[in-house]
């Protein structure tokens, strides 16, 4: 294998699949017989990755109204009352205070871009995934599924993306269109693996 680009794995998924993984899957079985077969139960317990289409989202639901109360109780101390604030204290382990979660639309091309959930994040499901795995900062993993749905709904509402009474669940959340969904560009498609790269971009 040489070098590859988004072009390679994004635009030619079919070719990629057939060339590499499909062939490998057909041709080879386990050679070493090490490791134990993982049970469905343990996979369910460990698998907290939510894809863009939200197919792993668990049953449950929440609204911004419900989320507002949980947010005030468990989130506002660091993220501010509305989510648009920047906390003055250095609370996180990375980069100091958490950046704002709300607002920033229209700033990305300015000299002071404000990356928030509303202005920057491409998929609503990322928010659900991250709130469940990483929040609250000092007690990650302690929120219930319904609390995660409600907090997700609250932040989407605060960003003007959904309505206050909209119910977020496994069906509705993946359908939420994030404003900056098309704000991400892959490296230039004319570049091919093995070619010298044009200056300044990094596949």
């Amino acid at each position: 294998m040489g070098w590859f680009t988004m072009h390679y794995y994004c635009r030619n998924l079919l070719v990629l699949t057939l060339a590499l993984t499909g062939a490998a899957a057909v041709a080879q079985g386990p050679a070493y017989q090490r490791g134990r077969n993982a049970t469905e139960e343990e996979i369910r317990a460990w698998d907290i990755s939510i894809g863009p289409d939200g197919k792993e989202l668990p049953p449950g639901s929440g609204t911004a109204t419900e989320g507002a109360q949980i947010y005030a109780q468990k989130c506002a101390a660091c993220h501010g009352k509305t989510g648009a604030e920047i906390h003055p204290a250095k609370l996180t382990h990375m980069g100091g205070a958490p950046g704002p979660l709300v607002g920033g639309v229209g700033t990305l091309s300015s000299s002071k871009p404000v990356k928030t959930v509303g202005s920057f994040w491409p998929y609503a499901t990322i928010l659900w995934d991250y709130i469940r795995r990483g929040m609250p900062e000092f007690r990650p993993g302690t929120l219930t599924v319904n609390e995660v749905y409600a907090l997700t709904a609250f932040l989407l509402f605060q960003n003007g993306i959904i309505k206050e009474k909209d119910v977020m669940d496994a069906n509705s959340l993946p359908k939420v269109q994030m404003p900056n969904r098309d704000g991400f560009v892959p490296p230039k498609p004319e570049w091919k693996p093995g070619m010298k790269r044009p200056l300044g971009y990094y596949p």
């Binding site: 590499l20 499909g22 090490r34 920057f120 010298k196 990094y202």
Partner: protein, 410 residues
Amino acid sequence: MGSKQSSRRRFLKGGAALAGLAIGGIPRAIAQVPRVEKADAPPGDSRAYGHRSRFDTSKRLDDTHAPHGMTTPIQDTTGIITPNGLHFVMDHDHMERPDIDPKQHRLLIHGQVDRPLSFTLEELKTLPSVSKIYFIECNGNSQPPRGPGKDSVQDVHGRISCSEWTGVPLALLLREAGLKAGATWLVAEGADAKRYAMGIPLTKGMEDVLVAYGQNGEPVRPEQGYPLRLIIPGFEGNISIKWLRRIKVVDQLYVPRHQATNAELMPNGKALWFNFQIGAKSVITRPSGGQKLPGPGFYEITGLAWSGGGAVHRVEVSTDGGKSWKDAELQQPVLPMAWTRFRSPWTWNGQEAVLQSRCTDERGEVQPTLAQLREVWGINSDFYFQDHFNGIQPWKVTPDGVVHNALLLS
């Protein structure tokens, strides 16, 4: 054969060690033969696990950009291997470093596979292993500082280290699990409290990624991911997941939060997505910012070069601010996606001089100047500088021998 050379031979014959500040010319080095003193007993049983000399004070420093990051003193390290205790640290999202009992640790591989598998560390160690020397570099390394006071190469370029990593090729484990048709991406996740996760293209996972348990001859250090770390050669360090506990094979692009928010903005407001690979880079580590040359005379210019795109092909050194360039000697072996040590002899005449190095990798990619990068990115000096900065680093030697960072943004 000048008197300096014979001095040098006498010095070497005498068996004296050059101290850490060997930046000095030969006469000074001789004057620095260490005094013989009785060392204090170091902490711990140094017969069971040895310590360095108490006179060696080279250390990691707090990263001025990231509250919990630590930079590697690349001005002090020799060769191409970073000692484990000096490997840079940049933890992105955890409350405290996990303290993992390796007997309890498991690696789960699941998703678009025929046989979801759970491995213990001992099981992984019975599988065919490889040892490879790779650098790991933070994508935020080398950003030119604003204003004075950020002179040292450690401060500016210390978010990189290079180690020999030992482990099982990820491709082997994925083949054991059996990839299903349609698999295209991986999500790798750590066992830290916040389950830090990143997406990796399956093509890369099948190419050269390692599930490493060894670092420079001993287990991976806790701050590097003990007992298991994913090593993704040539790609920005934040996807080399520490405390690796789960790999999910998926059939589409998953975008873990940090990958979404790390995407680098261009001036037009669009973000570069999955901007993984480190470009061709090099930096002179001695003489470098904050050091002082004791006087005119001979110096060995030395530094490190690397590229996420393969092996270093050539390093050139300029001592006149880029007007003329001379090929540096490359220390063998030159390995892909590893540091390459370069050296170039220089006689300083005592006048102001600007030292810089320029790397060309095996694909012919040439390390750019700041001006070239600005042109490509359309960035003026007011714009916050990009991650993945790989511009040429100039160091200015003033007539008093002090070395300054000559790449400060206004």
